[in-house]
Symmetry: D2
């Protein structure tokens, strides 16, 4: 998929409902030269087990892109739909696209996006080491796809992974297979956790030999600083999108990141901006524009020593609480509610915290 020097772009487009592809249709009419690598959506369901807004969006974008033939020839575009737009968060899609480099493009290093897919995750490997290893391999494939060699140049790895529905749990029982958990909501956490450990292993943040099944969703000292994982019932393999800066890429975009140590870590958001500015290598007092933010929100029963009620609330799931709060903070800090905040950050940043990445556009 790689080969020519690419210019990558990210189009952030509002959606009127999960099935709304109109803004992308319009944009592709205006910019027909781009091929679509991935659509990463914030859809407006509950982000939990029975969130059909994700499936609906995936159906709609898949039909649209199939009809158009919009993807690169050798891999179909990733559809990474993350549910949950609580509070001020605004439903939208970030569409990752690329075109061949032109002479007048800003030279790199610049944003590069790589994609990959694992095979189907067997039911009894979901939320376990097997899933982590499959993800690790896919992350390395996606880095090659993006022409990023140094793990330090990777600033965000978005993964969409499967979960255990009741039907899958029953299927496992029928086959005599053990599963990581038979609670469907909890299986989302295990699947996200194993995926994140796979990212950490791929980037050398932790050693693959250092953890086993029992560490998933238990040993919180193990984590990746750039992994962002979202689970959904609409797929059975893992899809990987790697975002980083590559010497081979060109164009005005750059990415950086930082790690929120808890759900109210405003300083980390500023650090992520600084990280991206540093990657952008701005001349003099040039000022870059923030194009998008990607953040993870992790529920916690205590924040800076104060009790929260996220885990005791039987009416609203903890991930919804966390997403709403972190969404309010990120949107407020940057004055923009159309940001990507995804909930449930097991092994994605430290316990209660999570990665935050910032996409900048350098002035031309």
């Amino acid at each position: 998929m790689t080969a020519p020097p690419w210019v990558y772009d990210v189009w952030r487009l509002p959606t009127a409902d999960p099935a709304d592809v109109s803004a992308l249709r319009e944009r592709l009419q205006r910019d027909p030269g781009y091929e679509v690598l991935a659509v990463m959506g914030k859809t407006e369901g509950n982000g939990c087990v029975n969130d059909f807004s994700r499936t609906l969006a995936a159906h709609a974008y898949q039909h649209f892109l199939q009809d158009r033939g919009a993807g690169a020839p050798d891999i179909s575009p990733l559809l990474i739909m993350s549910g949950g737009t609580e509070g001020v968060l605004s439903p939208h899609v970030s569409v990752f696209v690329r075109r061949a480099r032109r002479a007048d493009d800003l030279p790199g290093p610049a944003l590069a996006c790589g994609i990959a897919r694992t095979d189907e995750i067997p039911i009894d490997e979901l939320g376990r080491l097997g899933q982590a290893r499959a993800v690790k391999r896919a992350v390395l494939t996606a880095m090659r796809d993006a022409a990023i060699e140094n793990p330090a140049d990777v600033h965000f790895v978005q993964i969409k992974c499967p979960l255990l529905t009741d039907a899958r749990v029953l299927e496992a029982r029928g086959k005599g297979l053990s599963v990581a958990t038979d609670d469907t909501y909890q299986s989302m956490a295990y699947s996200r956790g194993a995926s994140a450990l796979g990212v950490a292993a791929a980037l050398g943040e932790i050693d693959e030999s250092a953890f086993g099944d029992e560490d998933v969703c238990d040993n919180w000292t193990l984590f990746s600083s750039v992994a962002s994982v979202s689970a959904g019932a609409e797929l059975s393999a893992c899809e990987v999108l790697v975002l980083g800066n590559s010497e081979s890429a060109a164009g005005p975009l750059c990415i950086g990141h930082a790690v929120m140590r808890d759900a109210i870590d405003a300083a980390a958001i500023r650090d992520a901006v600084a990280s991206a500015e540093s990657a952008a290598n701005l001349a003099g007092d040039a000022k870059a524009t923030i194009r998008q933010v990607f953040a993870k929100a992790d529920p916690a029963g205590e924040v800076r020593g104060c009790r929260t009620t996220m885990f005791n609330d039987s009416d609203i799931q903890a991930t919804r609480h966390a997403r709403a709060a972190v969404g309010g903070l990120v949107a407020g800090q940057l004055g923009d509610p159309m940001v990507y905040v995804s909930g449930g950050a097991e092994h994605q940043g430290p316990y209660g915290g999570g990665p935050v990445a910032v996409l900048l556009e350098r002035p031309v």
Copy 2:
């Protein structure tokens, strides 16, 4: 209730559950010289119609204070319980207390707290002009109680007001009385709205003759910049707590405020800090400590031109969404999740926004 020059204090105390009075018990044992004027709680229910955490807290604090005889002799302490600690918000009470001034107290102007109660609000006046007028009178009474003469010195007016339960709606029907609405959740909005217009009238922000029943929850150009109203099924009158700075008061505390123009207005939080610092009249480079923040969160279907899903979410009420988001922003800005954020800001600040007040402690 006024008379001697007072020193007012505000104790912010965590609660382990809505009925937990242990932290206040302990504090009063350590500081027996204070009388309790009001307990303003953030309890952990849904903040909507069937939020029994408010009633439970009111019961527990009422029993505790009655047994102790903790209040001023001439008025029983106000119990203003506001439900909803979504996201990172942490359940707590702010206890407003006072003691007679001593020679070594920092001279004023300083924080002063005044309280008052309306008569029972008749069912057919709830959410209407009648309620607004009753609140206006009570605000003026509370200002006198606090020895604040200039409305500009009032920085926060917290009101607890009743709502229409199904039982009250049926009672009204039985008596042939018209009600503002027969939707119980909506009646909370009307009651909050009418109360806020009463505050605005009392402080000269709007003219009482300028509005009628039909403006409540409809004409959003009318609002108070300092009103904060919370509705609950546990009372049938309105209770008013006025916070401001008074020449007659002494002690280290000062209060200021600003108005958030929408739910992501981080600048307004900084402005509120500046307003309080200005009132504190700090010498040289002295630095005050933030002791507490009081803010309102208002749901909105659109924030800075971006669609939100608060009003389309049939699983989570809009006020819960708003409280979670604004709570995340305020807590993140100030690094503290034990702040007071109350939801549903009808006529409390502009549509979609709301007042935010900051309580500072001057260094001694």
Copy 3:
């Protein structure tokens, strides 16, 4: 669409998720001679405003039927998706099909199904007289389609109608149009109510001149005994499915109905069975089999003088409460949880009650 003497059938098929069309695919492979008139689904969302399970199911069945060309040549199949499978209710679709009569078919009268569509309902007519009139005309069209002349032979009229989303409310404001309500959840009730009044007018249950806009969702003495209406964001016209017994139809199926006077009216369920048995005109002690039940569930703040909490529960919408309770009763009475129970029965049966129809299969 009518013409030849038809045999109508109803296939009740379980679904593994809202997009699952596999059981229908399989059935049509086995029985290729049938054409599909309508798919009436019980999907597993919240049945309220943001229920994307309905849209997802509609997308999936539409794609499936388009690809197959399964419908009658002159009208595309109706897709009536009703959200909400609370409690024991089991997600499924009822597929209404027909084939030309054969010599050995049981002679009629037998079940006949007629379908029709209104034009798009203008935003300012939704929930009002205009919508009722459009539905009335469509019901009469569908009766002709089913070759049912006598309104007394109509036992169930299922309608799918639009609602007002935030976007539509804003659109109306922009155009200066008045809407029945600007509360999206409430608009579902108005749309259902106006549709039901249209059914009642079509069948002569009430006189069209006897009601106006102001009666919708207010004058509960006006209702239809056979209307069942479900609202959804996925369409902007009304779709009508008429079920009754026709002399022109043949085959083993018959339908009957009764009216539940409240949500715990078990006797009405038995009456509906008796009504269908009477229509089946069973010889001697022949025993028919219950093939499916269609019922409406209406929230009520009081049932037989006892207070319920449906309307005071700010965590679960009232229609979800009602559907769960009536679903439990119907499923328990008949020993079968895969029944159709739809929530929100405004003008569909008396206040707090609703129609219940029973489909029987006569022994051959």
Copy 4:
């Protein structure tokens, strides 16, 4: 507590809100000769972890009974508050009372009620064998209290048991204690399950030596046919109320029971009525009146081979679904929505089912 021959009565009283004691106050004024043994309430919260309606009711009834001195002299009345009145269920209390027998009372066998309390359940025994043993001992004590010798005469054992809140889980961690689960919602299931196994052991339904910690909430072949357990955050010991028929008791009331094999088992409700009628030993064609029904509702992912969505619904907890459905069935069968249906029937009846007991009044 036993001694004189008693007449037991059960007063079923509606409540306007969880703290409403007015109906009991009135009843005790009319019937001052009774002492109160237990108040068993259906309160209107979510029945899950953060259900403060239970605590509020417990507070209110405790204050009321303390002030009155209404209980028997040697034991304070049990306050068993079970949250959740979904669907048509109507909030109420069943007050178990007794007075000394008079000459004209109907002779026994008649309803007898016995009560007992365990010691505080240690955090690391909650949901385990230790809790089951403590409950077993308490059940035997309560049987003696009721003068019931034969376990076959016990028809309902209601238990209120503690759960693990976040605070208790943290406390356990601090002390290095292991807990059955650290998911607060799940801890309710474990606590209910261990309690039910204790009942089964006490009544000889299973042998105490036949199970261990690992069977709790796992080995569903072990269950009691009369246990009904409700968990709540408002207590830390278990409270036991045994209901049965005793030769020593007098009066018109009798109790019987049956076991629902699943959530739609209408036949079991009829069987329970028959069981009570048999105990009542009615002469000729005398007809008894149903005074109250006590039933358990158990969530299940499949009912009679049909998929339900209770466990996949991340917006509404499974116990709420089950309670709504079973409540609809029981209320419909008996024409009365003020029945006691409690959710989460782990080891209380078979998986997916639960006990149902019927209280009859014999004609005088």
